[in-house]
């Protein structure tokens, strides 16, 4: 039997022995493409680089993957552009995949363009949709002007066709029955010491306190219209009452009212899809809207009846967001007390 061609590769990211969630999200899209695109023949492979990450290779093999290329070496413990791109370049030149996908993380946003330059091929950034057309070409949908415009990108003449995808753009797929084959590659032939010019000397990561925005069923988002840090506290109280999380826009972040950049929603921040999104004092610029469009119910409270946010809301209120949030807090607390009293 002929060996199955591995058309789509996903370069996965691990940090300190933990897989990045975006890698699994991208893997879900790769599996969907090989299953649904009739013009695409071949399977899905992942490339995993790290130091003693065999357990991650096992974990990955359960997501509809035909093969895991596993490269293990102490010099690959942390992401370093030089060492990672050296290994990937040699593997890609040897195996010649059609499509190469990356998570657009801090590291992915270095690694993907580096590789595209080395391979003189095309890379589409921050894809919000991936499809294969009748000719077998990858159709990559990308945002521009902060999400105001979407455009299709093709890579007609060079291979691989490369794309990056931001964390949270797609949901995490289910694990599947059956496992892919794990192939341990010989690191010494793929990684040369002379590759390495810059060394990663330290990595510091810490999960922010509280419920992460992208996991919350309720997102209370505040914008410049909240007016002050004191008023911002009302949003935090409301989020606490609803067991939700508080998000923000760039202007509110710049005012210093928020918990930090990790709570910013939009094209240059997080993508959220809660059951309920409540926007408070947000005019709704395209770059914010792009980060919330998949939410269940969208509610916006804004003083300006013509705010763009009202057009993409299920419910909108033309009022001072502070007053409505205060009234909401009162109403929620009153009904909770009533219940307790019963």
């Amino acid at each position: 039997m002929a060996e199955k061609r591995l058309a789509i590769w996903v370069v996965v990211e691990q940090n300190q022995g933990k897989l990045a969630s975006v890698s699994i999200e991208v893997l879900g899209q790769a599996a969907r493409l090989v299953e649904t695109a009739s013009a695409l023949s071949g399977g899905v492979a992942v490339v995993l680089l790290g130091d003693q990450v065999g357990d991650l290779a096992e974990e990955l093999s359960a997501y509809g993957v035909d093969q895991v290329y596993w490269v293990d070496d102490p010099r690959l413990k942390h992401y370093q552009n030089d060492s990672y791109s050296g290994v990937l370049q040699r593997l890609v030149e040897r195996e010649k995949p059609d499509i190469l996908l990356f998570g657009a993380t801090g590291a992915g946003e270095e690694l993907a363009p580096t590789l595209a330059a080395r391979l003189s091929t095309g890379l589409a950034a921050h894809c919000t949709g991936l499809d294969v057309n009748a000719d077998g070409q990858l159709v990559m949908k990308v945002p521009a002007f902060g999400g105001r415009v979407l455009g299709e990108i093709f890579c007609p003449n060079t291979r691989p066709q490369m794309a990056s995808i931001k964390p949270g753009t797609f949901t995490v797929p289910q694990r599947r029955a059956g496992r892919g084959e794990i192939v341990r590659e010989d690191a010494s032939s793929l990684l040369l010491d002379t590759d390495i010019r810059l060394t990663t000397v330290d990595v510091l990561q810490s999960e922010p306190l509280g419920l992460p925005l992208e996991k919350a069923d309720v997102v209370i988002a505040g914008g410049y219209g909240m007016g002050s840090k004191k008023n911002w506290g009302l949003l935090e109280q409301l989020a606490a009452e609803l067991q939700g999380a508080v998000g923000c826009t760039r202007p509110a972040l710049d005012e210093g009212w928020t918990a930090g950049e990790h709570t910013m929603i939009g094209t240059s921040g997080k993508t959220v899809r809660p059951k309920v999104y409540l926007g408070c004092g947000i005019s709704g610029a395209a770059h914010h809207a792009a980060g919330i469009k998949d939410s269940g119910v969208i509610i916006n409270v804004n003083r300006d009846a013509l705010a763009p946010a009202h057009a993409y809301s299920d419910y909108c209120v033309t009022a001072d967001a502070k007053k409505v949030v205060e009234a909401l807090l009162e109403e929620i607390r009153r009904t909770k007390n009533e219940k307790r009293g019963r």
């Binding site: 992401y79 370093q80 552009n81 030089d82 993380t105 801090g106 590291a107 946003e109 270095e110 580096t114 595209a116 330059a117 003189s120 095309g122 589409a124 921050h126 159709v139 002007f145 902060g146 999400g147 105001r148 415009v149 299709e152 990108i153 093709f154 890579c155 007609p156 010019r197 810059l198 060394t199 990663t200 000397v201 990595v203 510091l204 990561q205 810490s206 069923d217 609803l242 067991q243 990790h262 240059s268 309920v276 809207a289 792009a290 469009k293 969208i298 509610i299 763009p308 057009a311 299920d314 419910y315 909108c316 209120v317 033309t318 009022a319 409505v324 009234a327 909401l328 009162e330 109403e331």
Partner: protein, 265 residues
Amino acid sequence: MEIAVLLKPVPDPAQYDKIQIDPATGILVREGLKTVINPEDKHALEAALQLKEQYGGRVALIGMAPASAVETFREGLAMGAEEAFLCSDRAFAGADSLATSRVLAAAVKKAGPFDLVLSGSTSADGGTAHVPSQVGELLGFAHLTHVIQFEIGSDGLASVRTKMENGYRESRGRLPLVLGIRRELNTPRYISLMGIMAAQGKPVHVWSLDDLGLDKGKVGLAGSPTQPGKLYQPDMKRKGEVLQGEAWEVAQRLVGIFRSTGILG
């Protein structure tokens, strides 16, 4: 220290909600939008000026844009750069990030040698974040992007902190380097009247395809490995039911909606 700053003129990000797509032609309508220095590039320029103040040397601005963008480069000169190199040729139009990076890398080589190339990590318009890494590759320099802090010793050894998810990564290496700068790094200086006056006398060199000695097939739309297809505006329209009444009435309606979605017991 000889420093090149890659500077991109972009339509003012504050006005992106005015951008439309002509429904008949499918072409982007962006008339009347002011052109500004890409916001993160200002942070790159600020970092370069601070290094010049520390070590001496010169700061050159390098960019690819239509010749009409010369005023945007004057703004960078007014901030304190010595000279500007504007790569401008019809053949450059429609370039993707790699075709753009080929032009920028050729200009850096021709205007150099430089010890350090700084750029914003991401442009506000296209927003790919590819250019710092791709220019680095084409120059043969090591490179890092999403830089939030860095130091360069007099021995040419750099310590660079780059942003990653929920944290940062610390890297070390030697010049020459290309660094993509994020806005967290610094606060760009204001342009002074003196700066504006001085900028009028500073040289702006305009370089064409021939000046850079590049192959026409490697630049612009023709030289771009990615090719654009259809453009459209995302349709996010929802029913937009207006809730009216006093704040307490609205709050009651909202609580009802919360209940029906199951987020409130």
